[in-house]
Symmetry: C2
Subunit: 141 residues, 2 copies
């Protein structure tokens, strides 16, 4: 039987944080935004409608928790989040995944969405440690 | 006591379809995409986290229904939806709202997100009638 695995395309821009009840959680390694990706652990999922009603409720609960984690990351990095952006797009990587992104009025794309804007910026080691620590503490991972 | 009202900014690009249990439903009047907007009827809502757990579950249920409505619109207009895009952004209009958009690999923005791409195109009267009819039938509105 097929088992869940994140699409290898996620490896290029993100790293694993851990596993919530439903979702595999990744950090988008772009220092411009505190940005998590939730990937429900199922095989062949493309749309939210592909989840059971119970899993849909879990997904929205985990997305709210991820929003809190993104806020914690922003605070730890001295750039408090002013607005959350949440989106399930999947036009490029079809495997169902939800972006949870912390936005500020002074960020690199505001008020536009972040996708396709400029070039990803690598985290400095200390910032990555701080951000990951804040995210993990909030997510209990 | 303050009552719910959609932000007047929505009037510029969308029209009212009706009311679901939780959400005020609008059609984005851009003929390039079958596109609905769900606005939970609460006062002062900005983020999904501002909803109660019960309302969050209703929101995701209504978003799945809206996805089916967007698929019905695409089918009625001879352009079946190949991928759904769902997003709560709110960087421009802060009132909590969820975009539900039907995408195709031959659409005007694919694979990029739709926001900020090109110029909105008005519906022809017959297409608007067809699309609205399909959406309303699916939404029971």
């Amino acid at each position: 039987m097929a088992e869940f695995a994140p699409d290898p395309a996620f490896d290029a821009g993100s790293m694993v944080i851990g596993e919530l009840a439903l979702c595999h959680v990744r950090l988008q390694t772009d220092a411009r935004w505190p940005w998590l990706i939730l990937i429900p652990r199922g095989v062949g999922l493309r749309e939210i409608e592909d989840l059971s009603a119970a899993d849909r409720a879990t997904l929205i609960a985990e997305s709210v928790l991820a929003g809190q984690a993104v806020r914690a990351m922003g605070a730890a990095l001295g750039r408090p989040v002013e607005k959350l952006n949440m989106a399930a797009l999947g036009n490029v990587t079809a495997q169902l995944h939800l972006h949870v992104i912390g936005r500020r009025a002074d960020d690199a794309a505001w008020p536009a969405p972040v996708w396709g804007v400029g070039t990803s910026e690598a985290y400095e080691a200390q910032a990555l440690t701080l951000g990951l620590g804040a995210a993990r503490a909030t997510l209990n991972l």
